[in-house]
């Protein structure tokens, strides 16, 4: 049965919300789409499929994939350790997970560059093994790892906390090994949250700019991410090309937003008990 809502304030609060979202979020994005659409299909296609643009998509997507896969394992291990084990410093580890959210991307960018430059703390050691990080695609990946790590930890953590121990006990009493129980009981329960975290993390990697440009080297065709290419087109006053390439990134963001929402709706279906 639906009750009549007696609470006041719907016109005011919804009015403020719609006005602000319209002005701050929808209007600029619509302006961008209009600008990109004004190009005409042939010109648009020529810009977004130019070899330099395609190379930038490739390096952005591949680095984002690499970073997300690393964060999938590291984030899951981190969430597992924080929720299931008690050890000195656990609360501190739990707290610093949020640092990449709180630290400005430009600050993270120069800090990571200083660490991984060939005279830096990590860079000089890795150089001994013949691994170059700064000014290579690997550097882009590391910057992406840093900025997107909290997404996976923070989506998986609440599900791990709420996991019913009885399920594990039942599996143990049936003689399952730890690995078998993890793979066949725990992992399927975590999967929706894990996937939602992965898609959030991947989306963030696709759009990251500040942390990357310092460490990337920014060579066209090899270490130039799509966000930077847009910025370069702007500096060349080529607004149409900037609009076209930005619309590709916007489309990718919308696609990831749809995927994330779909996954989260699925995750809720599993976690909310009736």
């Amino acid at each position: 049965m639906r009750r009549r809502n007696v609470l006041p304030g719907l016109p005011l609060s919804l009015g403020v919300t719609l006005f602000y979202v319209g002005l701050i979020v929808v209007l600029p994005l619509a302006a961008l789409v209009i600008k990109a659409a004004s190009l005409g299909p042939a010109d648009y296609w020529q810009i977004v499929s130019s070899s330099r643009a395609v190379a930038s998509y490739r390096v952005t997507v591949l680095s984002a994939l690499g970073a997300t896969i690393f964060n999938l394992f590291f984030g899951l291990a981190l969430a597992w350790v924080i929720t299931r084990y008690r050890f000195p410093g656990r609360r501190i580890v739990d707290a610093v997970v949020d640092l990449p959210f709180a630290l400005p991307t430009a600050v993270a960018g120069i800090a990571l560059t200083a660490l991984f430059a060939n005279n830096g703390w990590f860079g000089s050691v890795l150089e001994g093994f013949g691994i170059k990080v700064a000014y290579t695609p690997l550097g882009i990946m590391i910057a992406m790892c840093f900025t997107s790590l909290p997404f996976i930890v923070r989506t998986v953590q609440p599900v791990l906390e709420d996991l019913d121990p009885a399920l594990e006990e039942a599996a143990q009493s049936l003689g399952g090994s730890d690995w078998a129980i993890f793979r066949r009981v725990i992992l399927p329960l975590l999967a929706p949250a894990l996937l939602a975290g992965v898609s959030l993390s991947f989306a963030r990697c696709l759009g990251e700019f500040g942390a990357i440009i310092f460490i990337a080297g920014n060579q066209p065709m090899s270490t130039e991410i799509t966000a930077l290419l847009i910025f370069i087109r702007l500096e060349e006053y080529d607004y149409q090309a900037a609009a076209a390439i930005a619309s590709v990134l916007l489309l990718a963001a919308f696609f990831m937003l749809a995927v994330t929402n779909w996954l989260q709706a699925r995750a809720l279906r599993y976690t909310v008990k009736g």
Partner: protein, 292 residues
């Protein structure tokens, strides 16, 4: 069963001591390398040329101006986004209306959109090539490559922060208390300030602090719309980039150390606020679960 087992919980998956210690060890090392090391190196590099250089960078007029501009942007963007967040959370959690879920998705758009894309989008609204560009020029109003542009670009990037902290909490708390207050004759504002606000104040405060940290640290969107004019439209993150590319690494890290301190403060505030709010929130969530 022995008496012993009554005192000890049965081992859970992954409680094997070797595995447990190994995993904790690996995670701690990675956390130190990936998260803590970048923070440490900011401090080390900031003071690499000594205290005098650090002090000179911080007190340099350009740095001072960048700090002022960053604070100004936060002073405007954070209260506006807080008001928006409260309005959005009230509308979305206290009412059912058509398109409610869609509105929720639209509010979260700025989280997924690249800050560069946001900056470009603002060019096409307020720039010379944009929708309102000719109109703004006719009245000689400068938004882009000036302070207002920096502030609205920051507003876009941080628009969802307060709303996102409030919505899940207010959703879990339901509408009963507000309905009781209204039926007893309290006005809408009185209901909000006397009933809703005390229940969500810690989440609200955390949303505000996080929003502030992000406004002060915003780089991509601001670098598109600011025009990067030294001593005029440089915020602190842009100032860091400028110094860094000027081969003044120590100065860049000195400026970065201010923002890093704000980040550390944000994290400490989060832990403190969670402790304040945790008991209350959990109790309410449990009641809500039982009630449904």
């Amino acid at each position: 069963m022995s008496v012993f087992s009554a005192h000890r919980k049965p081992p859970r998956v992954g409680d094997n001591p070797v595995f447990r210690r190994g995993l904790i060890g690996i995670v701690l090392v990675l956390v130190a390398f990936v998260i803590v090391a970048p923070l440490v190196i900011i401090g080390v590099e900031a003071f690499s040329k000594g205290w005098a250089v650090y002090r000179d960078t911080i007190t340099h007029p350009d740095t001072q101006h960048a700090i002022m501009l960053t604070v100004l942007a936060a002073l405007i963007a954070v209260p506006v986004n807080t008001a928006f967040g409260i309005a959005a959370a009230w509308a979305i959690t206290k009412f059912d209306f058509w398109g409610r879920r869609f509105l929720l998705v639209v509010i979260e758009i700025p989280f997924s959109v690249s800050p560069i894309v946001a900056g470009v989008a603002y060019l096409f609204v307020y720039g010379l090539q944009g929708l309102f560009g000719p109109l703004l020029e006719a009245y000689d109003i400068k938004i882009l490559f000036a302070v207002p542009g920096i502030i609205i670009a920051s507003m876009f990037v941080t628009a969802p922060f307060v709303a996102r902290e409030l919505i899940p909490l207010m959703q879990a708390q339901g509408r009963d208390l507000e309905e009781a207050a209204t039926s007893l004759g309290a006005s809408g504002f009185r209901t909000f300030f006397a009933v809703t606000l005390p229940n969500v104040k810690w989440a609200l405060l955390y949303g505000v602090i996080l929003c502030n940290a992000r406004v002060m640290g915003e780089f991509g969107a601001v670098s598109v719309v600011s025009g990067n004019i030294r001593g005029q439209t440089n915020t602190l993150p842009l100032h860091i980039e400028l110094l860094y590319h000027d081969y003044q690494a120590a100065g860049a890290f000195a400026s970065a150390s201010i923002l890093a301190l704000i980040a550390v403060f944000t994290i400490i505030a989060k832990v403190a606020l969670e402790r304040q709010g945790a008991g209350r929130v959990r109790k309410q969530a449990n009641t809500a679960e039982k009630a449904s």
